[in-house]
Symmetry: C4
Subunit: 290 residues, 4 copies
């Protein structure tokens, strides 16, 4: 594998053209959240805004829309049909596909839950939504029963499992994942035609063509709930701005690690939270990559 370096990521961030407008930086659709996990959806949407996405709309189950609106100010929200357990329902599929028409990327997963009906929605979106697709957390779990649907996509999706989610996806034990992180990631990426971000210390990014990258940034203080939701928002936000999914994944993972290292400088070895990272995204990019 290749160890990622600032020199390869920095050129992805040229100075913004003088004559640009908010439409120049894309419109991201986030599908996320369920009762008790609205925070995950908010972290994802806010992170996307902080990495420079022009517009962000978060589709959430209608029952949590009011809570979501109190947690995100600049992103917009759309209340969507929900299941009996309050998670996103497949009844919202047409509405979602209609929303997707004028969007540039789709982030799917943070706090979705794993209601059987929500699984159906996730599968249907993988099959039918042609937007650049970034899947995390519960969306990955929703897919674990039937990951072959990923192969049907014309453009590969980005998946960002942690080792436990990777194990479920691959149908093996977590210990097996960790025993051969590079092999597991590369094999799955090739077999299922996805860009696979295998999180953990020294996160790996495996591409469908077999290339493999390792992120040298990051630290164990980032081992705290919510950090993955921020990463999803960052990758998806870059994709919405026009980064290729490959570059979005590489840059997102790298910046996420650099942000974590900046937070460790500020807070010490632990105790910084996902919400802290969001605020520090611009400064991190500005300091390290421009």
């Amino acid at each position: 594998f290749q160890v990622m370096e600032k020199q390869t990521i920095a050129p992805l961030f040229p100075a913004r053209a003088f004559n640009s407008h908010k439409g120049s930086f894309g419109h991201l659709l986030v599908l996320a959240g369920s009762p008790g996990k609205t925070g995950a959806a908010a972290l994802c949407a806010n992170a996307a805004k902080r990495i420079g996405t022009g517009l962000v709309t978060a589709g959430v189950p209608e029952g949590i829309n009011a809570v979501m609106e109190t947690l995100v100010v600049e992103p917009m929200t759309v209340p969507l049909p929900e299941t009996a357990s309050g998670t996103l329902s497949p009844n919202g599929l047409d509405r979602i596909l209609s929303l997707a028409e004028n969007r540039q990327a789709l982030a799917l997963g943070p706090g979705l839950g794993t209601d059987p009906d929500t699984r159906k929605l996730v599968t249907a979106l993988v099959e039918t939504c042609s937007l650049p697709l970034i899947m995390d957390a519960d969306a990955v779990n929703c897919l674990a029963e039937n990951p072959t649907v990923l192969k049907s996509r014309t453009s590969p999706a980005v998946l960002t499992p942690h080792p436990g989610e990777m194990a479920r996806l691959a149908g093996i034990y977590t210990s097996e994942v960790q025993a051969d992180r590079p092999g597991t990631a590369r094999t799955f990426a090739q077999d299922f035609n996805v860009i696979l971000v295998l999180k953990g210390a020294q996160t790996l990014i495996a591409l469908p063509d077999g290339r493999l990258f390792l992120c040298p940034a990051g630290n164990p203080g980032m081992a705290t709930g919510g950090m993955g939701d921020v990463l999803t928002g960052m990758i998806a936000g870059l994709a919405a701005q026009g980064f290729s999914l490959e570059n979005a994944a590489l840059a997102g993972v790298f910046i996420h690690g650099l942000c974590g290292d900046l937070l460790a400088d500020i807070f010490g070895g632990f105790g910084f939270l996902a919400g802290d990272m969001i605020r520090n995204i611009p400064e991190t990019i500005h300091r390290h990559l421009t």
Copy 2:
């Protein structure tokens, strides 16, 4: 056109009289918001407070009033009748006109949506409300079908379209707007008797008498959703404090650009958000204009 300069804007901000009180600085009425877009209303109301308006009351659809109240602490809110889609309803017109009696300006637009009934309300307000009027975003869109109603106003309204909204208003293509920004703005301002703020890189302000101003401040990091809502709040807040609409538009646009430049100094080229700008309004004025 004339390029705006600090020397012409600064004198609009004399030191406050020692013996002033909150009533000395006006009471602004904001009509804004709809489900999923409460943040736009909050950004507008909070920006108006930060630019020194004495009192701000935000009238919002009753269904989002609770969310709105969690996003604004110093502004007051008034829950108003709503349409079936949760947007402001023309049934609230009398209540609004009654509210307007003791106000000094009306900001209309951020997050309103474009429900057909809401369009009727917007048109009716343009026709019947004699307050200094600042229209943005969805209010501009609501008006696009029938902008001639603007001509009936005894005092010209301020409109703040971005190029796409300008195109809809003028019934031309966005590319035509951008191909001749000065001409488009000047013609519309003269034809429809409005103060037209054409947003974008180097925002233009066209007055009904044909004069045209260009704002040299601002940067492409401001190309992010919500910045327009802040601008509307700033212009309207100045109008409520007694600035002429012409001066409110000029000063509001200029300060908005200067704030954006201050944010770029702090955050780097992008990643700062509309909410960040609000906090920096006083310091920007203090540093550059007093």
Copy 3:
């Protein structure tokens, strides 16, 4: 009148005894808020906490309790019976008097509204609640029809009208109030047995015995909605901690002015908000009065 000085206020703030606990610093009851004005209640409650009150409970109309809870973290809330317009109802009187039993002061007014039934509640509380009482804003307006009820109190209440509210209370024109601020304040304080805080540039505090104090601190940037709610919370919070009402009014007004001056140093001449002041209360006291 006497001009207030740091040397007379500072001794009211001795170092806290080593062996103190949250009960040592009182429990304040705040009755405030109505639909659209929850922010006023929150500003009052949070200000009381920031000036060192041990515990603060805010009784609010039940319909706004959820919003109130999102705006105050350390204060507790109690949902109370409400009128048809959503304001506090006299049906809650018994519950309120029961709550008052273990409290050390009562702040009454911010955002209450002036529903006729709420007026009845205010009058009843003035008549029956023996706690040290601080009345502001709408509570003062509620009382304007019948201020003689104030005379019945064994311990004088603190009233904090601005000139317009003073005019309504005294049954004269605002211009008459401003033409003779000292005389108006002193006469009303003596006639109605209250500690009268007449707000405005150079706020006056008139005591029932005829003494009159002028606050030299403060600036016109404080002329912004919400500042009065903060003042009420500060005075009431000091009263709950055991300050005599006279000392609470004097110290509260003086610190409020000093905080405003600190904010003007930070933000410039205007654009700072009531919420900013709350955060700066401790530093202001620490810097100037200890």
Copy 4:
């Protein structure tokens, strides 16, 4: 008794292993909150995150779940069955025990209220939940009628009463508690097989084996409502991360005191709030203990 020292606490915080993940730092279950006291629950959950806990789930009465979600972003919430008064109901016991299965510690108490049915739930949890258990505030009050149930636990619970709660638990007067704080704490800890944290100036920690520790850190500015909720979150968060309950109690109390002293340096002798402390936990640990 032994006076606590940095040298004995610091070694409990080794540098985090490079190869750790959020599961390495535990999953805490918090049961807290009731109408009007949601803030207490939020303070507890957020404090646990800030002290480094990997995941935090807060179970709250379903009626306050939406408010809770607006106050906590990184912690997750679970809406649970509630009593007629809106407090946690014993009907939720099975659900709670099921939630507890994959958790490493249970914090029980902040803002729970003392509804008779909630008392039953608290008693049932003490009897049946084998997780490391930290009880505070209303949970302690709920237990006061029948503290003997504590003896049945195979692993001792941590109780964190203030002197008034201690008095209720021990069936004596508060003055008796304060007259012999060490004796009261030691006796109760030994008799009821608990780790007893007797709060107040110079907080004491009594262990079931008779050992007694005194915390030299802290100051009277911490005498403000909500500080106890933060302490509970800190101790419970450490327990979830794998600290023994004894070490969690010792380290939590000590860090809480050090945080308070840091806040007094920043804010002066009083006026800092519980929410301020949460933000300063990581820096305090980093500065003093690593």
